[in-house]
């Protein structure tokens, strides 16, 4: 792991209708980590990701991607939104959704061609969905839809991947397949940040973790900070999970 900082969040405060959902967050995420963001419902996990992506404007503070504002760096960042954020009845195919990942590098007006199609097919193959390329997206299962979203992020070939609950509503096989791809990304030196719900799997899947509940509770390597103390601080109840490190 290099000492380069992929994402730095400084004094970030985000409010909906004057009610803070993220309060004075400071965060430095080193390049090349596979990091989970954990916290209870309403802790602001998705909001943090969306603030990093400049989708939500903070009322205070700033976010830098490799030292520069997001606007100048968007080609280095790939985003996997929550599966429920789109309408899967949209008239399009799996391949077409993955192709959308190439739009960022194309910019305005220019249309995707053979090169983009080839990249999309490769990404589909990586997530094991090549045989479904022509299928209408509503005809895919929840796990398959999640893989399509992952393929769409892979095709962007970015340095940073931000994922909002990629394991939600997927079967065990898909979860394993996804985590293997995430680990491969880390091996390739990418920074991967995942909003995660299943505390049991944190030590197995991730090497870095951020505890969040409106304020940042802790951030650091899983082996140093994933303990009952931080879990209790984050979830507000006396948390006793037996964690096998």
């Amino acid at each position: 792991m290099s000492e380069k900082i992929a994402i730095s969040v400084d004094d970030l405060t985000v409010a909906y209708n004057y009610k803070p959902v993220l309060w004075d967050i400071d965060l430095s995420i080193p390049e090349g980590v596979l990091m989970a963001i954990v916290g209870p419902n309403g802790a602001g996990k998705s909001t943090l990701i969306k603030s990093i992506l400049d989708i939500i404007k903070p009322i205070a503070g700033s976010v830098k991607i490799f030292g520069k504002p997001y606007k100048k760096q968007h080609e280095h960042v790939a985003y996997v939104p929550q599966k429920g954020s789109v309408d899967w009845d949209f008239p399009t195919t799996a391949l077409d959704v993955v192709m959308m990942g190439t739009y960022g590098s194309l910019g305005w007006i220019k249309r995707p061609g053979q090169k983009q199609k080839k990249a999309a097919l490769e990404a589909l193959e990586k997530v094991g969905m090549l045989e479904f390329k022509s299928r209408q997206i509503s005809q895919l299962s929840g796990g398959q839809q999640q893989r399509i979203f992952l393929a769409r992020a892979l095709v962007q070939n970015s340095s940073i991947y931000l994922m909002d609950e990629p394991f939600q509503g997927v079967d065990a096989t898909t979860e394993k397949a996804i985590i293997n791809i995430l680990k491969e990304l880390r091996k390739a030196g990418k920074t991967v940040i995942v909003v995660h719900h299943d505390l049991q799997t944190v030590p197995e899947y991730f090497d870095w973790v951020t505890f969040l509940n409106v304020k940042k509770i802790a951030t650091g390597p899983v082996k140093d900070i994933f303990n009952d103390d931080n879990l209790t601080k984050t979830y507000g109840i006396n948390y006793k999970v037996s964690i096998q490190q």
């Binding site: 968007h74 985003y79 939104p81 008239p91 195919t93 045989e131 398959q144 079967d171």
Partner: protein, 386 residues
Amino acid sequence: MTSAQIEIQLIASLVAIACAIPGTFLVLRKMAMISDAISHSILPGIVAGFFLTHDLNSPWLILLAAVTGIITVFLVEFIQKTGLVKEDTAIGLVFPALFSIGVIMIAKNANDVHLDVDAVLLGELAFAPFDRLEVNGTDLGPKSLWVIGCILLITVALLITFFKELKLSTFDKGLAATLGFSPVIMHYGLMATASVTTVGAFDAVGAILVVALMIAPPAMAYLLTTDLKKMLILSVIFGVIGAIAGYWVAHWLDASIAGSMTSVLGVLFLLVYLFAPGKGLISVLYRQKRQRVEVHLLTFLLHLQNHEEESERHVNHLNEHINWQKVRSKSVLDLALKNNMITIEDDIISLTKKGKSFTSEAIDYIITNKNAAIEEMKDRFFLFRG
């Protein structure tokens, strides 16, 4: 056909095409009601524009009215953002307010304006050929043909140029934003196009029916295809069919052209809704019936698999054992026989090899819910689709 008839049909068709294109995206964005709001609330813009220009086809009037359309969208979103009311309530608050201002403006100036509320609501397509564009004494055709032709040209050019961006921001606003395509720009761009088109179509079909042209053709196309480009093409085709068939229905009935066009679209939608393969009502009912039969088949096969004893497998005892009526037992039995899943010897039913493996396969799927196991079965078997 007289040239006036041809001109009316041509104008109606162009209006239908120009409406179907933004309409497709409105339907996909679940914003159909916004087109209703725009079509009504541009009225004060049109009236104000008419006072200034004294020409219903002036580009200034169209721009002014389109701005009113954008203001409508903005107001709806503004009211919605207060969090005090929901979107449909906000729409219901904004457009009657703006529309009523237009109605009052017309009523107050009824004497010097040849604009009346009837024309505003229903359009006056039949009179379109009388208002002609003349340059140096040469007749270039009806003015409204030129107006809607220009609007259509701009709409098509925008669609081709920004197809990728429109598709992306309609499907996934979040991704569009992170890739550097401003969803706000796309949103207001679409709203501006819809507003301009509405103003252009307004003259021909009026405030109420322009909504039908924007929404009905894409709604039909949506039931028939799973491809955005095909959906656009089908919307355009349905729009044109509605326009031309509507004209002739009006001709035969001696009734309002706009009303007939909308009625034709309504009947077309009913037909598509009933007969569309896949999503249509009949297709859905047929599928549900098939699924019901297949669940029964599976229950029956499972029963055979679970029972070795002959008493449980006798044709005549099946009724009592699985508690089915005779007719159902017979249809399930026939289905199983037809698919070579069972054999009957001396009225005793046995599973064939195929029947056995099929049952195990199906049970395996139902228990594990694995997708890979079922892909191949899906084509043969309704039960596992969707």
